[in-house]
Symmetry: C2
Subunit: 174 residues, 2 copies
């Protein structure tokens, strides 16, 4: 299931975001509220022959967007999701092949999506990390805006008072 | 002069940052402490058919890097320049063709480069703006680290106590 929905979203990203194809972006896995996205190093190098800062941002931001998108889809939410703000810190150069970014949702999915269902809009915060030799090399924090139709999730789910259940439903067994 | 040095750096960027070629990046002009960089919209679109957030960041960050690089080169500084931190706010979608980013140095070039000459390192702050229909659409703030050999500028210039003169020397008449 995880692999299948990653492949579907990866195909959409490649089709609708042309630069992602050039960058060699691949959605690797979704587990709970964590998503791994990879990109090839070679098309993303810079003048120092390390990963280009702009590509590193794109990879981190895209990982966060893919994570929020897949979590929303698993809840059958009809939401438009865009990154509203991004902050990134470059700690050391990245030279790994492939570049690997791990995005993690801050807080529970339920806290984000219940707000969306009630108000038709919400904010999701994602932290994305790129490591170099097992130490942090790039730390990204993204603030994603969800807008759309409120209460598009089945009423039975919406009325649930069990955030844990909502979070559980987002875990896609591989 | 401005056009010539922009063409030279643009060629280097295209050669050494492959994704910049795909994005259709062009260095348009350098005037004083302000640089304009453009990119084509089509290779940089996203799933909403507007400019991809990652590309917008890349364009803004690259404009800032190019600005600091050209200002340093005009002072004959042997500095390695990398972006250390970046923050970006997306205010409205960008659909202009081309995407135009204007990067402006915060403070005077002299304040940055005198610090570099004294200590062999410095920080430069750049604000980059992308407009959509003459209103701000994307605001980027980048913190660039300069490292390298101290006092690589001619001694006569280094000993000058006239920041205005230093700033003037960075203005490249078109």
């Amino acid at each position: 299931m995880s692999d299948q929905i990653c492949r579907q979203l990866e195909a959409r990203i490649h089709r609708e975001i042309p630069v992602s194809r050039f960058m060699g972006v691949r959605l690797v896995s979704l587990e709970g509220s964590s998503l791994v996205l990879e990109a090839a190093l070679e098309p993303n190098i810079n003048v120092h022959n390390t990963a280009f800062a702009g590509s590193l941002y794109s990879i981190c931001a895209l990982a966060g967007w893919a994570l929020v998108t897949l979590l929303a889809e698993s809840e059958q939410l009809d939401a438009e999701i865009v990154v509203a703000r991004g902050e990134i810190k470059y700690i050391r150069p990245v030279t790994t092949e492939p570049i690997v970014a791990r995005a993690v949702l801050t807080g529970t999915p339920a806290s984000v999506f219940d707000s969306f269902l009630d108000q038709g809009k919400a904010r999701a915060r994602v932290e994305t990390l790129v490591e170099q030799e097992k130490t942090p090399a790039v730390i990204f924090s993204g603030n994603y805006a969800l807008t759309g139709k409120a209460a598009s999730r089945p009423a039975a789910d919406k009325d649930s008072d069990c955030p844990q259940q909502t979070a559980q439903s987002l875990r896609t067994p591989s």
